[in-house]
Amino acid sequence: MLNNKEYLDKLYQSDKSIIIYKNDTGFEVYTDFSKKIIIDKKNIKNFLNIQSKEKSSRIDGLNCYIGFFGYKLLCENIGIKLPKQKTTNFYSGLFYKPKTKISIGKKIIIKSTKTNFRNIKTNTKKYSKLNKNFNLNLTLQQYSKLFDDFSKNIKQGKTYQIKIAQTYSKKGNINAIDLFWQLMQINESPESFLIRDKGYSIISCSPETLLLKKGDLIKTKPIAGTLRKTKKINHNKALAFFRRNEKETKEHNMIVDMERNDLSKICKTGSVKIDKLKKVEEYRDLFHYVTTIKGVLKNKITNHDIISSLMPGGSVIGCPKISTIQLLNQKEKSDRNIYTGSFGIIHSNGDMRFNIMIRTLLNFKNAIELSVASGVILGSTAKKEYNENYIKAKSLLDLFN
């Protein structure tokens, strides 16, 4: 019989559907899915409040659903209709119920309710090498035009800050598992994940935790502020930069107040507190400016209430949320797809963890796409923000030769 390590290797090499999610101590790998539920605006409430609460497994760690909500679904869920945009017709949202969970930490621990779960066939599919040439949907000139239009909107008070998304794309198919572990070697971010399923795969090195709910405690950890890493800049210098920099500071302040607001909608009066204000986190190519905010949920708040209050995550849209999404919808020509949606896990006891799907690459129908965004804020320039977007995409683009 295969030992745990051999089993895991064979699982990676098979064509089985698999999800990998980073946690504090390592990674969780999920497979042998008994259910796969497509989520749309009609069933999202029922899924969150009823279906995800069913306790069907004798193993606690398997009483959960893992998956994602796309951006469009999250907008529709809060009553915002998106106009007709270019779309690839990818899933609006999709959740999986696992029968096998492999925890990779100091040891590999496997829990499964599937008999003979170790029996798997190796896949012989070959992947061709992909080069680094991606198409970018906005030229600097087009980006500058949008930047100017939105700057006007800010002057008129219609929005206080707005994030323009750009999409890198190319044809081809990736070996998701290989690329994911390569990515983890160079940029293991706290909200990294992979989904490999028939017909599509997603790999992500998302740094941003949108929500962490345990019992009646809830936390969010918005990121606003990015600094490109060079040899000369260490953690302390990055902190000094952010503190001095007016643009980064005010952008961050706004997101902190906005996330306090989103938590206040669902939390007990007076319970929303800033836990860690303006900390620097270090990644391979950049530093981020991060704040943690927490609160205590009001009685009778459902998981659907929580999702509706916090998603789509504010830090990747701008502020205020509703009017800014409406402005974005008038100008963004292609749909954001999974970008700025959320991936995560829902336990049957109601606990949840979700990220924001940024730094996330989707491979669907022989096309690879990756989106990034940065903020139009007065005092910045189109060129600077355009370049900031490239830094955000870099660690994923670097996976291609």
Partner: protein, 185 residues
Amino acid sequence: MIYLIDHEDSFTYNLAHLLDSIEPTVVSNYYEINYKKLHKASTIVLSPGPGEPKDYPLTSEIYKKYKGKKKILGICLGFQHIVHSEGGKIVQQKNILHGYQSRIKIISDKSIFNKNSDLLGGRYHSLKLEEPFISKSMTITMRCTKTNVAMAIEDDINQVYGFQFHPDSFLTPNGKYLIKKIISR
């Protein structure tokens, strides 16, 4: 009970928590105003929000209907609503301030707060009150120490108060004190 009209802002619930910690508060979307509840409220609060006062005609109507009958407090766009309804003009300002912390000074002895003291306030506004602003009953009581832009108006006789800055922001350390003083008046 306090009735808070939300102009679909992303800061309204920060304000709601502040208010609710002083007196029970009902929040209502601008598009779903419950006039029965509104009528029962002791205080009406006009929230911040995107755009300008004329985008929200119902709020101006409500202000005119209840001025002098109920206590009215306006924050940011709500402040602009009050001055707009009082004949003031709202214009774009040169330096647009979103997420800024400014030093604000109490400049009038008509203020319910101590004249000449100052405080820190968080600001999120593209527009401002054009001056001179002439009103029989209203006084500009606070200004930004740097730009001199009007930061508060008060009419203590009719119990109308407005802040251009955000007492609800984490950038305003004494925000609760300001709101409490008004609500308990």
